[in-house]
């Protein structure tokens, strides 16, 4: 028997025992083709998926290597069916190629005629293809490059794209590394992306994804369109680019609900691009406004469906996606793969934490007991009302007040879902509140004040979930959320993970993440689901009764 660290299960999960002496080697060897699914303290779970295997093919690994790796590190015999499946799946990638033909332009070529025939017979694809040049080559309508790739992936014959990219309009962009340098993993990520042409970089919240974007821009040295989730995030991108690169304020435009500037580097929000008027998207022209050389998608796991459709038309341009997690609640990972590109870089959270680039976190769940009257109301309530009732209990206000008092010296965020609850908390804690209704200017002012330390406590709604850079925050208390969204949990924790400057005593910041839930209600059930994501990322958490908080 082989004494390897890896156990290959027949359901295509790989269990990696991390205390094993060869665990690190094994992790490096399987990372290119297996998706890390869970990384709790003792045994990490990876999964083999077609996408992961095709990612590996795209990165130049072949089935023989994958099988050899599995056999080398596996403790027990590897299920035969799984090996066959790996070989078959990987063999499907690249049978079809998108190429540039000197006279016919974009063509779909194949070395395997039956596959081409099968694909040509698919109804969905017929409209995207032109005439047949010879037995193995068929013309592709230039505008359908993205759609075709998407459709081929659905058919299970992902095409390898050799058609190349347009350079776009050149524009000088350089990183200004004065007093700071790109971290190794950031440089590595940017290089992996550039080498691959297009693709997605996966890094934890707080690990500096913006800089990866900036580094990619400096590589491209061309006009760039940056798509972000909201206006505040757009401003942060702008500030960061001005600070870290040779770009000046005048070279960076913002294209949002309020301002519509088109500059060599333009930052647009998803929202404005997907605004519909009379069934059309009036702001789509932005995509054609310049000859963009690079398109950056921030928070790619949130890309809305219309943006996918638009992206399908942008296949000739380089695309980089940035995200903390490729988990999409809508299961459209395949679209990300085919339209933006395969995963080019990935690093486990705990690894980056170990390098000191993100702060370690202490996660605690605090359980409160509903008072008798509320329990009765809860028991008789309609199911759709229950979560709101349970999560908005007045009991939580008391607990939050205790927690805030406990961490009086640390900058603290109180995060919630329901406005009345937030208002109630703001009143009880005497703290400013930021919700979707707060004007952008006011938001910006409050965030700035929080950053500088002028305000030590903020009550925020889900507007702060994404892309708001609050490096000083040390404590977050969440009182309610969007039901069981694991992604939201990750994003909220991400707010705390930016490592602040070390304290005078040289101690590193430890983020404290509290979740206040009502015992024996759906609130607790959802909390459990949300925590799973963190536990799976290796963040152990404790559960404490409100009475035992010891305040």
């Amino acid at each position: 028997m082989n004494d390897g660290p890896l156990i290959v299960q027949s359901d295509k999960t790989l269990l990696l025992e991390i205390d094993h002496e060869r665990a690190a080697d094994c992790r490096r060897a399987i990372a290119p083709f297996a998706e890390l699914e869970r990384s709790p303290e003792h045994v990490h779970t990876y999964r083999l998926t077609p996408l992961g295997l095709w990612n590996a093919r795209a990165a130049g690994h072949d089935a023989e290597q994958v099988i050899d790796t599995l056999l080398t590190f596996s403790r027990y015999a590897v299920p035969h069916a799984l090996l066959v499946d790996v070989a078959e799946t990987m063999a499907r990638y690249g049978r079809l190629r998108l190429e540039k033909h000197p006279t016919h332009g974009l063509v779909l070529a194949s070395s395997d005629r039956p596959v081409l025939e099968e694909v040509l017979r698919a109804k969905k694809i017929a409209g995207m293809l032109g005439s047949r040049i010879d037995d193995d080559t068929v013309v592709v309508h230039g505008s359908e490059r993205g759609n075709l790739k998407q459709a081929l992936l659905k058919l299970g014959w992902p095409a390898e794209d050799f058609a190349g990219y347009v350079d776009g309009e050149a524009h000088p962009i350089d990183l200004l590394e004065d007093g700071w340098t790109l971290r190794d993993y950031q440089r590595h990520a940017a290089e992996s992306f550039w080498h691959g042409g297009s693709g997605v970089v996966v890094l934890p919240c707080g690990a500096g994804k913006t800089l990866v974007g900036a580094a990619a821009m400096a590589q491209a040295r061309a006009t760039t369109l940056i798509l972000v989730t909201n206006t505040v995030s757009a401003r942060q991108w702008k500030d960061e680019l001005v600070r870290r690169t040779s770009l000046t304020e005048d070279e960076i435009g913002e294209y949002s609900g309020t301002v519509k500037e088109i500059r060599p580097v333009t930052i647009a929000t998803y929202q404005v691009l997907t605004t519909r008027r009379k069934g059309t998207y009036p702001h789509l022209e932005l995509l054609d406004a310049r000859d963009w050389g690079l398109i950056v998608y921030d928070e790619v796991h949130l890309l809305p469906a219309p943006i996918f459709r638009m992206t399908a038309d942008l296949q000739a341009r380089r695309r980089i996606g940035l995200t903390a997690t490729l988990v999409r609640e809508d299961g459209r990972e395949g679209d990300v793969f085919s339209l933006i590109g395969p995963k080019r870089y990935d690093a486990p959270w705990k690894d980056i934490e170990a390098q000191g680039w993100i702060a370690p976190a202490d996660c605690v769940e605090v359980r409160v007991t509903l008072p008798t009257s509320e329990r009765l109301t809860y028991a008789t309530a309609e199911p759709e009302e229950r979560y709101r009732l349970a999560s908005c209990t007045h009991e939580k206000v008391r607990v939050v007040r205790d927690l805030v008092a406990l961490h009086a010296d640390s900058p603290t965020l109180v995060i919630g879902q329901y406005l009345e609850q937030l208002d109630e908390l703001a009143a009880a804690l005497d703290a400013p509140v930021i919700t979707g209704e707060t004007p952008v200017k006011e938001r910006q002012r409050l965030f700035d004040a929080f950053r500088t330390g002028e305000i030590g406590l903020l009550v925020v709604s889900k507007v702060a979930n994404f892309s708001i850079d609050l490096p000083s925050a040390e404590v977050a208390i969440q009182v309610s959320g969007s039901f069981g969204s694991r992604q939201e949990e990750a994003q909220r924790l991400g707010r705390l993970l930016r490592p602040g400057p070390p304290s005078p005593t040289g101690e590193r910041k430890v983020a404290r993440f509290y979740t206040v839930v009502s015992r024996d209600t759906v609130d607790a059930d959802f909390a459990q689901n949300r925590q799973r994501f963190l536990a799976e990322q290796g963040y152990a958490y404790r559960i404490v009764d409100a009475e035992d908080l010891g305040v």
Partner: protein, 764 residues
């Protein structure tokens, strides 16, 4: 020594054989001994019957068939001459000849070595034959033939060569049959004139005589060597890898069968009216075992054939597939024995699981376990396939792509007369053997030989994962067992946690429900904590401890009575909650006291409804104690092995082999006795005069073999017996074809009307 002996007839030769030789013959051609023959005459007659010959030929290799074919072409000959006729190593020819003689397919007549009568027809241009006709009796010498061939014009020679490739047969179609050499106008006439093509029968058929074919092929019956066995295309792998892969598959197959039957114990699928398993049930089984439908069908078929599953009527009286009590016994066996049982079952079960899911002629889907899946050829194919792979040198595996095709070619050479479908069966056998762990990467693991010979697999044990006695518990409420768990531990853990992923390792997840399930069957909080602490190699994470405590906290706070269906709890609010619950209206709850409710609903409905509503009630017995229940696990009786297809262990197969030997020995003894009796009768009455139909057959075959003229007493349509003088040519399908001297023509005679057969008295 045998070469010097000459016999008047095949029966004579058999009579002279030793008991060992006879036993070997009867063992290899068992059809000869079914209903023990009376005497050697009958035995010889039977062995030349068409059906029996066909069966005997089915067991020969292409080379052995070529030897027989050469014998037919040669007619009467000597072993030495035969050797020169065959394009093969003389020693190989001698070996093959010995084998066909031992099978009574060839014998030594007074005039030389010859094939038994009817063999030419039985070979019938099938595999292994050269396409040559027998030599003519007055064949010209080789020199003469060579001269004649040299004289031929180019078209005539080409025609001759073409004829040789296509069964050496032609029709006259206008050519004159009797032509002088100088008069020949067409290529065909050229050949006819030189007797390189001769008429045969009266219907215008022309054939190339055997000696011409031999001359054209340089004295051999074939133009290429016939003793070359096609080799199997292989590629080398390390034996360790083969063993590990195969053992992995073996372990998986066993685990899956166990997993499925455990489930069928509580949720048995119905038996269809055709005796099968429904498509939906099969699909559910496949999903449960995490395999595709084809593999699920294989595992289900094997489990049932191994007797691990039986039928049992469920509560409604419908039949269902349920694990048998043999399954429990099987579970307690050592791992390698368990696997050997499945593997041996597969080797001997006359069923073809690959057919499941296909459609029959009427377009109906073939169900798993139904009679339509039966395939009598399956066991023989499987064994032949595995034997062939087991014969490969260690570390050699079937080459990717070409390996399977070459294996089929190899098997076809060994048994060329098998039906064409064998190719497909071989492929299926390889696939199924890989799924069951009898092959790894297309090669034979170390334990395969042992399995084929002794039906055990002790060499498998060291290859299987060692059972582990601990798990790793993690903060995300999962526990990972890094190997197969000891069975008691596995059962306990299965109770307190749900299984999330299975394989070499098992991943368990703790949930509120799973912990409650443990509490339901009587575990206490202390026991749970102790259990977790003792099985976990790492400290138990705080969230799990909390989960257990939290579940215990709510568990049993509400108690439900049986007799009055009461609900009582110390917590008034809990009851008030329940009473006011919008979905509790149908339960007919009424408050009796601040801490007691009663219900008009019977307990078996009430209990699950309460759990649905989020309560965690326990049932209180009449004496006030908490009752614990666990679901009943169903078992059926071990099915009796019906068609003798299941020889579940080595012992029974050994005993059946012993029985077989005894039966053959008895047959040989009775044959000798019968022969002596027949000899005694023969001495008293007229020689060779026989009255029984089988005796007539033997006598006729002897006459065919020796080419003698006989007088038969024939019962004609009017019921009159008349004597006919005939030269028997062939006996087949109950009729004798013979040259009737009186009619001066070839006539057919019904064998059952032939009353007597006796040799023609020497005239003059």
């Amino acid at each position: 020594m045998a070469e010097e002996l000459r016999f008047r007839s095949l029966a004579d030769q058999l009579r002279n054989w030793s008991d060992e030789q006879l036993s070997a013959l009867l063992a290899h051609r068992p059809d000869l001994a079914t209903t023990t023959p009376h005497d050697f005459g009958q035995l010889a007659s039977r062995s030349a019957a068409r059906a029996s010959l066909a069966r005997a030929l089915d067991g020969l290799t292409t080379f052995e068939l070529s030897v027989l074919d050469a014998l037919v072409v040669a007619g009467q000959t000597t072993p030495a001459e035969l050797t020169t006729l065959i394009d093969a190593e003389p020693s190989a020819v001698a070996e093959a000849l010995a084998r066909v003689e031992a099978l009574a397919l060839a014998w030594r007549s007074t005039d030389g070595l010859r094939a038994v009568g009817g063999l030419s027809d039985a070979l019938g241009g099938g595999p292994g034959t050269s396409g040559l006709w027998p030599r003519t009796a007055d064949a010209p010498s080789g020199d003469v033939l060579r001269t004649r061939l040299a004289e031929l014009s180019e078209p005539a020679r080409r025609m001759l060569e073409h004829l040789l490739e296509s069964r050496s047969e032609a029709t006259t179609s206008g050519s004159r049959v009797v032509v002088a050499v100088d008069d020949a106008r067409t290529p065909a006439e050229e050949l006819l004139a030189r007797r390189l093509l001769v008429p045969r029968g009266g219907n215008g058929t022309l054939v190339v005589p055997g000696e011409v074919g031999l001359a054209l092929r340089g004295g051999h019956t074939t133009d290429r060597a016939v003793d070359v066995e096609p080799s199997v295309a292989t590629s080398p792998r390390t034996t360790a890898l083969i063993d590990r892969t195969a053992a992995g598959a073996a372990f998986e197959a066993m685990r899956r069968v166990e997993m499925l039957l455990e489930r069928w114990g509580t949720a048995p699928p119905a038996v269809l009216r055709n005796g099968g398993l429904g498509v939906r049930d099969l699909r559910a089984a496949a999903a449960w075992m995490q395999v595709d439908d084809a593999q699920a069908a294989l595992l289900v078929e094997v489990a049932v054939a191994a007797g691990l599953v039986g039928q049992r009527a469920d509560n409604e009286g419908d039949l269902a597939w349920v694990p048998s009590d043999a399954f429990d016994a099987w579970l307690d066996q050592p791992t390698s024995q368990r696997w050997a049982r499945l593997a041996t079952t597969w080797l001997t079960m006359p069923r073809s699981p690959a057919r499941v899911g296909g459609r029959d002629e009427a377009g109906k889907v073939r169900n798993c376990l139904s009679a339509e899946i039966g395939e009598p050829q399956a066991p023989a194919t499987r064994r032949a396939t595995l034997e062939a792979i087991a014969e490969l040198p260690a570390g050699e595996t079937l080459a990717a792509g070409t390996g399977l095709a070459s294996l089929v070619a190899h098997l076809t050479w060994r048994r060329p007369r098998r039906p064409r479908s064998w190719g497909r069966f071989t492929e299926e056998a390889c696939r199924e053997a890989a799924a069951l762990g009898m092959l790894g990467l297309g090669g034979a693991p170390a334990y395969l030989r042992e399995l084929l010979d002794h039906e055990t697999a002790s060499a498998l044990d060291p290859l299987l994962p060692e059972p582990v006695d601990h798990v790793l518990i993690q903060a995300d409420l999962t526990a990972v067992a890094p190997g197969p768990l000891e069975s008691t531990l596995a059962r306990s853990l299965h109770l307190v946690a749900d299984i999330e992923s299975q394989g070499g390792a098992t991943v368990y997840r703790f949930t509120r429900d799973s912990v409650r399930r443990a509490l339901d069957v009587g575990w206490t909080a202390v026991e749970l904590h102790d259990f977790l602490g003792s099985v976990s190699r790492t400290p138990v994470p705080q969230p799990l401890t909390y989960l257990v405590d939290d579940t215990v906290r709510t568990f049993g706070s509400i108690r439900v009575g049986h007799a009055e269906a009461f609900l009582r709890a110390d917590d008034e609010n809990a009851l008030t909650e329940l009473l006011h619950h919008p979905q509790a209206a149908g339960l007919g709850l009424r408050r009796l006291a601040p801490t007691v409710l009663i219900s008009s609903t019977s307990l078996d409905v009430l209990l699950p409804r309460l759990r649905e509503l989020g309560a965690a009630p326990v049932v209180e017995g009449p004496d006030g104690a908490v009752q614990v229940t666990r679901p009943d696990v169903l078992r059926a009786r071990t099915p009796r092995s019906g068609s003798g297809q299941r020889r579940s262990d080595a012992a029974s197969s050994r005993s059946s082999a012993a029985r077989e030997t005894a039966r053959i020995a008895a047959a040989v003894t009775s044959l000798r006795a019968g022969d002596r009796a027949a000899g005694a009768v023969g001495a008293a009455g007229p020689p060779s005069e026989v009255l029984s139909p089988s005796g007539a057959l033997a006598a006729l075959r002897e006459a065919i073999d020796t080419g003698t003229t006989v007088v038969i007493g024939y019962l004609d349509n009017q019921g009159m017996t008349s004597d006919r003088v005939v030269d028997p040519r062939s006996v087949d399908g109950g009729s004798l074809v013979a040259f009737d001297h009186r009619a001066d023509d070839v006539r057919g005679f019904a064998v059952h009307r032939i009353r007597t057969v006796r040799p023609l008295a020497p005239s003059g």
